[in-house]
C-alpha cells in the first residue's frame, strides 16, 4: 500500500503548452491564458496527498478540471507537467508497460455513464480487468462473482447491461473495478448520472463497502452534499486550481476564500452537522448519591437539570432543581424523583433528526453512546449558533464524523 502524492500537476490543452505553463507560473488566470494563447488550462499546478484508505473527494463546478485531474493520475490524459507519486514510484515517468501494469493491478476506475460493454454479460463485464491480465477462466470467474456478490448483484450474472437499471449498472462498474483488487479506486462522477434517491443509496453502500474493503478512493463530484457525505477530506477546484483541501467541517467552517464561502453557503448545515458537533459536557450524578448533593452540584455549575447515571455511567434520566429540592425536603432518593422517560440521540445523529426529540422535552437533549452511556447534552443555543454558521460552538473532533 502506498500514498498518492500529486505535485504541481498541470494540464494545458493546446498546441504549444510550454508557453501557457510559463504564464501559469506568472500567476495568469485561465481566462487570460485563453485570451493570450487560445489554449485551455485543464488543471493548474494541483498538489495534494491522499492517504491509504482515505476517501478523498475532488469537488468543483462543471469545467473546473476534475475529470482532467483524475485522468492524469492513471494517465488517460498525459500531464503537461508535474508529478504523480504512488508510494515511491513516479507514475508520470512510467513507460508504457509499467503504466499498463499499474493500471491492471493498482488503480481501477469507475465511470460516470458506467462504461459497461453492451455486448457482454454482467459476469463478463466484471471479468474484464482480469481477462486483460490473462488470468485463467476459472479464477477470473470466481473473483468476478465474488465482486458481484459484494455489490449485491450475485443473481444477475447472465443478464446484459441494458437489462439493468442505472443504479445496478453502476454496481457492475464498481464490481468490475473491485474484481482486480486494486489499491486505489478512481470514481469520476460515479453517481452523478443516477437519480437522487438511488444516488443516496449508492453513497451509503459505498461507505458500507469501504468499511470492509478499505480502498483508497478518489471520488469526483460536482455535488457538495455528496462530497460532505462521503469524503474524509475534500479538495475544492475552481478554474483548474485547487482552492482548498480539508475535512468537510474545515471547508464549511473555515472557507479559504470567498469562492469556497459562496460555494458552501447554501449547504443545509442541519444535514451535515451532528449532535456530536454541538454537544456539551453534561453535569451528571450517580443515582446512589443523595438529593442534596445533586442540588449542590447544580448550584455550583449554574444549571437547572442534572443527569442521573448508574455505576456504569448508563443514563437513567434527569432531575430538575425543583424536584431535587423537594426530594431533599422529603428525604427521598434520587431514583424516586428522576424523570426517566426522556428522548436521547447519539453522537452521529444529524441535527436535522434531532429537532423532533428536542421539541419533545424542555430539558437539553441527552447524547448517549451505543451502550446507553451518557456522553453529553445538546442545548438549543449551540444548535442555533451552529446553524447560523458560528463555528465557536462546534467541537473540534465532531464526534464520530459527519456521515449521515
Amino acid at each position: 500500500m502506498s500514498t498518492i502524492k500529486v505535485d504541481k500537476l498541470t494540464k494545458i490543452f493546446g498546441r504549444r503548452p510550454k508557453q501557457a505553463v510559463k504564464y501559469l507560473e506568472e500567476n495568469k488566470s485561465k481566462d487570460e491564458i485563453l485570451e493570450l494563447t487560445g489554449m485551455t488550462v485543464g488543471v493548474n499546478q494541483a498538489s495534494f496527498e491522499v492517504q491509504d484508505g482515505e476517501v478523498f473527494v475532488i469537488m468543483g463546478l462543471s469545467g473546473s478540471g476534475k475529470s482532467t485531474l483524475v485522468r492524469m493520475l492513471n494517465r488517460l490524459i498525459e500531464p503537461t507537467s508535474g508529478d504523480v507519486w504512488l508510494g515511491d514510484e513516479n507514475i508520470t515517468e512510467m513507460n508504457k508497460e509499467q503504466l499498463r501494469d499499474m493500471r491492471r493491478k493498482k488503480m481501477s476506475m469507475v465511470f460516470q455513464n458506467f462504461a459497461l460493454l453492451p455486448h457482454k454479460t454482467i459476469q463478463k463485464n466484471a471479468e474484464y480487468g482480469l481477462e486483460i491480465q490473462g488470468i485463467d477462466k476459472e479464477e477470473r470467474a470466481k473473483k468476478a462473482s465474488e465482486a458481484l456478490e459484494l455489490v449485491g448483484l450475485g443473481g444477475y450474472m447472465d443478464k446484459y447491461p441494458s437489462e439493468l437499471s442505472g443504479g445496478m449498472q453502476q454496481r457492475v462498474g464498481l464490481a468490475r473495478a473491485l474484481a482486480n483488487d486494486p489499491e486505489i479506486l478512481l470514481m469520476d462522477e460515479a453517481f452523478s448520472a443516477l437519480d437522487p434517491l438511488i444516488r443516496k443509496d449508492m453513497q451509503d453502500e459505498l461507505m458500507d463497502l469501504q468499511q470492509s474493503v478499505h480502498k483508497t478512493i478518489i471520488f469526483i463530484t460536482h455535488d457538495l452534499n455528496e462530497a460532505l457525505r462521503i469524503g474524509d477530506r475534500i479538495a475544492l477546484m475552481k478554474d483548474g486550481s485547487i482552492v482548498q483541501v480539508g475535512t468537510a467541517e474545515e471547508i464549511l467552517m473555515e472557507p479559504a476564500n470567498d469562492y469556497v464561502e459562496r460555494f458552501v453557503e447554501d449547504v443545509d448545515l442541519a444535514k451535515v452537522l451532528t449532535a456530536g458537533h454541538v454537544m456539551k459536557r453534561a453535569e451528571s450524578i450517580s443515582v446512589d448519591r443523595g438529593a442534596n448533593v445533586a442540588l449542590r452540584l447544580m448550584k455550583d455549575s449554574g444549571v437547572s437539570t442534572i443527569y442521573v447515571v448508574d455505576k456504569k455511567k448508563k443514563l437513567l434520566g434527569y432531575v430538575t432543581a425543583d424536584e431535587a429540592a423537594k426530594a431533599a425536603k422529603e428525604d427521598k432518593g434520587l431514583s424516586e424523583v428522576l424523570i426517566s422517560d426522556i428522548p436521547t440521540v447519539q453522537t452521529d445523529t444529524l441535527l436535522a433528526d434531532a429537532f423532533e426529540p428536542m421539541a419533545d422535552d424542555k430539558a437539553p437533549l441527552s447524547v448517549v453512546d451505543e451502550d446507553g452511556r451518557l456522553v453529553g447534552i445538546v442545548v438549543r443555543g449551540s444548535v442555533i449558533g451552529a446553524l447560523a454558521g458560528n463555528d465557536d460552538v462546534l467541537n473540534g473532533n465532531g464526534g464520530v464524523g459527519i456521515n449521515g
Binding site: N74, L76, R100, M107, F111, N113, L117, H119, G129
Partner: protein, 279 residues
C-alpha cells in the same frame, strides 16, 4: 490537341501515367504474375466446387441459408428466383458471377478491414487514405479496366481486380467509422483497465463496430455486383457477359433475362447479408 494558343503547354499527364504503368509492368511483372495465378487458381476452383453439385442441390442449400439468415419468405424467393435462372439456362453464368463477386468481396475484406482498422487508430493515416478512397470511388469504373488489362491481360483476373478497386472503399470507410464511433467512455474504460492496443481492438472496438463493418461489406457486395457487366468487357465470364453481348447485339430479350438474373442475385445477397448482420 492544339495547344499553341495556351500560355502553358499541356502537362504530359497521360504520358507520365503511361510511363509509370510501363515501369510497373517491367519491374513488377513477377508480382502481377503471382497475383494473377493466385486469383485465377482460387476462382477456378471455386467455380469447379460449385459446379460439383447439381443446380437443384445448390438452389436448395441457398434457399435454406436465406431462410435461416432472414425468414422463410426469402427462402421461398431464393427457391423461385434461382429456379428461374436455372430454367432460363443461365446456371453456369450464375455460378461464374457468384464466384467473381465472392472472391472480390473476400479480397476486399482481407485488404479493406485491416486498412480501416489502421485508419481508425491514427488520424494521419485517415487523412491520407480518405482522399484515396474518394478517388477510387469517383473515378469512372471503366477506367480501372485499362490498367487491369495491362497488368493482368484478359479474363476473370482483371475483372476481379477492377471489381476490388471499385467496391472496396465502403468496407474500409465503414470499418474506420464503426471503430471511431465506439463510445469514448468505453475506450477510456478499456484503457483504464490496462488493455493493450490489440486487446482494446479485439475485445471492445471491433465487436462494437461489427454491425457498421457488416453494413460496409454489404455495400461492397452491391458495388461488386454493379461491376459485373463492366468486368465482362475485359473477359470476365458470367451473367455480365450475357448482358454485354445482348447490348452489343441489341438483343432485348436475352438482355432482359440476363439483367433479371442479376437483380435476383443482388436482392438475395443484399437481404442475406443484412439478415446475418441483424442476428
Amino acid at each position: 490537341m492544339d495547344n499553341s494558343g495556351q500560355l502553358f503547354p499541356k502537362l504530359p499527364l497521360a504520358e507520365w501515367i503511361e510511363a509509370f504503368v510501363d515501369f510497373l509492368t517491367t519491374y513488377f511483372s513477377a508480382l502481377f504474375d503471382t497475383v494473377s495465378t493466385v486469383i485465377e487458381f482460387v476462382t477456378e476452383n471455386f467455380v469447379l466446387l460449385m459446379e460439383l453439385a447439381p443446380p437443384i442441390v445448390l438452389i436448395i442449400l441457398i434457399a435454406l441459408l436465406a431462410w435461416w439468415a432472414v425468414n422463410w419468405k426469402l427462402g421461398l424467393f431464393a427457391l423461385i428466383g434461382l429456379g428461374l435462372i436455372n430454367n432460363l439456362g443461365y446456371w453456369p453464368e450464375l455460378v461464374e458471377t457468384i464466384s467473381l463477386v465472392v472472391i472480390s468481396v473476400l479480397i476486399s475484406m482481407i485488404i479493406g478491414i485491416p486498412i480501416g482498422i489502421w485508419m481508425s487508430q491514427k488520424g494521419s493515416v485517415q487523412a491520407i487514405i480518405t482522399p484515396i478512397l474518394d478517388f477510387m470511388q469517383t473515378m469512372p469504373a471503366f477506367v480501372y479496366l485499362i490498367p487491369a488489362v495491362v497488368f493482368f491481360s484478359l479474363g476473370m483476373v482483371p475483372g476481379v481486380v477492377a471489381t476490388i478497386i471499385f467496391s472496396m472503399p465502403p468496407t474500409v470507410r465503414l470499418t474506420n467509422l464503426g471503430i471511431r464511433q465506439v463510445d469514448q467512455e468505453l475506450i477510456e474504460a478499456s484503457n483504464a483497465f490496462g488493455s493493450s492496443t490489440g486487446q482494446r481492438l479485439t475485445k471492445v472496438q471491433i465487436p462494437l463496430a461489427m454491425s457498421t463493418i457488416m453494413a460496409g461489406i454489404n455495400q461492397t457486395i452491391m458495388l461488386s455486383l454493379s461491376m459485373v457487366v463492366i468486368a465482362s468487357m475485359v473477359g470476365a465470364p458470367g451473367l455480365g457477359t450475357v448482358v454485354y453481348r445482348a447490348v452489343t447485339q441489341v438483343a432485348i430479350g436475352p438482355g432482359f433475362e440476363g439483367g433479371l438474373s442479376l437483380v435476383i442475385l443482388a436482392m438475395l445477397l443484399d437481404r442475406i447479408t443484412q439478415g446475418a448482420n441483424k442476428n
